[in-house]
Symmetry: C2
Subunit: 341 residues, 2 copies
């Protein structure tokens, strides 16, 4: 079984974007709408948007199940205030929940949170609880920079994040640490901001003792961990200077990396440097890089090919494709077991 | 011959730090000093600080010549105003020039610029000219984020940087794109901010047509290019979506990467993914990571060992160790030729 732990609903019907544009246009006059109920997307529209896109490619490429969350770049937590984000997150999460209901064998949901710059992260808990309890979602996406590239929130080790972590531990759900659109002209969203955030989040964990406070908390760092595996010697050396434990003890029981690295040498490095138990298959398909690599003739984001070609045993490959995801997402594992899988 | 293109004067006598602390203490009362002339460091003190540190390690590790610039994390362009940075840069550059004079076979200077947040980069030109003409320096360090982690400056493609680029082209000096201390709690300086800046700068160049305007401009991206080589497929794919030329044409005549990657798999990836002509030997010794890697028994930043062990021909290795630096730093090449080297 092949589980893709990083998929976003990047292909939602256009009505969703139109609704959001109206919400943004009325930021200062929210009484003019739109209301959540104004968004009408039929099951047939959802089905078509998935069948012609993600599900088609999953079948072509041979992955079975995608952990599916709202489009990351559309979260745009920097827009408006908490109420703006609360309405928007509720709508986006509901759509992902409906996709998971329509295609229960192929999609299972993960939630975006209604974060907003300067607002206490604890305000996100009701949406988180709804997504877990009512929608059966198995993870969340946590944005370490709700400001969208201005980095005005405290580091992930700050106690203001702890109420979210407490809920994560209680429900046994991991967080993918994933920023959204950059509104800082310095940072290209998918070429700089995403990768920088991955590296930044890892380093925030390294310098702190967060996982002493939450020994079972799990973070999934996407995009192959940003710069982390490539600079693993630097991180090991910095931890050593700070008198931290070896990273295998200090971080690698809690931090995991996905395989959204879009060329063979990158995946080879990841597979070589990181313990296999810390690597989860993912493609972020359909996402930032949609083209075909002229050097291989294959899609850049067809990451299954890189894993197949990497120097791994069959057992390691099965861990990356399936078992590690079931370990990091215990609710996913439970849902699969309920189906006899 | 082995040229290390990335060394900072991290071991300057303590008097320098004391002077800086006084300058910072009197930011609002600069009339209370200190004046530049108040800093007294003898040649003997300079000699000792170098002979017992960088030069000792260069001899132990077998590198011959270091391109030597003021300590990156001490540039701290976010402190004070332009005058603060101007005095500080002048002092730091003069010390590096004196080191190069004292050890002409082993050190040659590169300049820090007196950048300041919100101040026109053109104000840096007099210091740049002095460093090239009077001190014989062969490169500069350009900080893409003088705010120290708040990223308030425009991208490197912005026309406000052009006066600096015009001088660089005129004098045939490259810029190492190097940030300084982060004063943003989100970003650890050497574990996140440095690497993020490398990735960010590369992407700023990728999305722009900067090198159409300056076909001979050369940027050296340190720390192995941040996340860039590890995610080379992502960058190629993003450029493709933007209808940019192949990166080999679009960027690789102008952008170069150093080898400050502190483990063998990282260097192996760099050497495999990047054309050899774009890779310059460097260690950033004595710098962020000073310890001994328990996995190898060698210093993390003894990068020569990784290059020696990488799958490279002797000719390629010589290019990385010497010839590429002479190409990217034409004034260095001229200085060596004058000595018959």
């Amino acid at each position: 079984m092949i589980i893709d732990c990083h998929g976003h609903y990047t292909t939602a019907p256009k009505a969703l974007e139109d609704w959001r544009n109206k919400q943004i246009a009325n930021l200062n006059t929210p009484e003019l709408g739109p209301r959540a109920a104004d968004l009408k997307i039929s099951d047939d529209e959802l089905r078509e948007s998935i069948e012609t896109n993600q599900l088609r490619l999953m079948k072509e490429r041979g992955s079975d199940l995608t952990i599916f969350s709202p489009r990351a770049s559309f979260m745009a937590h920097h827009i408006g205030d908490f109420n703006t984000s609360a309405t928007w997150a509720a709508i986006c999460n509901e759509l992902c929940a409906r996709v998971a209901q329509l295609f229960p064998d192929h999609f299972i949901g993960a939630a975006m949170l209604p974060q907003s710059p300067g607002v206490d992260p604890a305000t996100c808990i009701p949406e988180l609880e709804k997504c877990v309890k009512e929608y059966g979602m198995v993870g969340i996406n946590l944005n370490p920079d709700p400001s969208g590239g201005h980095w005005t929130a405290p580091p992930l080790s700050d106690r203001s994040w702890y109420p979210v972590y407490e809920k994560m531990v209680e429900y046994e759900i991991p967080a993918m640490i994933h920023v959204s659109t950059s509104c800082n002209a310095c940072f290209h969203t998918t070429g700089a901001h995403y990768l920088n955030a991955d590296t930044t989040a890892f380093m925030q964990c390294l310098t702190s003792d967060l996982f002493k406070d939450f020994p079972t908390l799990k973070f999934l760092i996407p995009h192959g961990g940003g710069a982390v595996p490539y600079h693993w010697g630097r991180f090991r050396g910095l931890a050593q200077e700070m008198k931290k434990p070896l990273l295998s003890e200090h971080l690698l029981n809690n931090i995991f990396f996905d395989t959204c690295v879009y060329h063979q040498p990158g995946i080879d490095l990841l597979a070589k440097v990181m313990p296999v138990k810390n690597v989860l298959f993912a493609s972020e398909m359909i996402g930032a890089v949609r083209g075909i690599d002229p050097e291989t003739g294959n899609y850049y984001d067809d990451t299954r090919r890189y894993i197949e070609a990497a120097n791994l045993t069959d057992a390691d490959r099965a861990n990356i494709f399936e078992h590690n995801a079931r370990h990091v997402f215990p609710r996913l594992d439970a849902a699969l077991k309920e189906k006899g899988l």
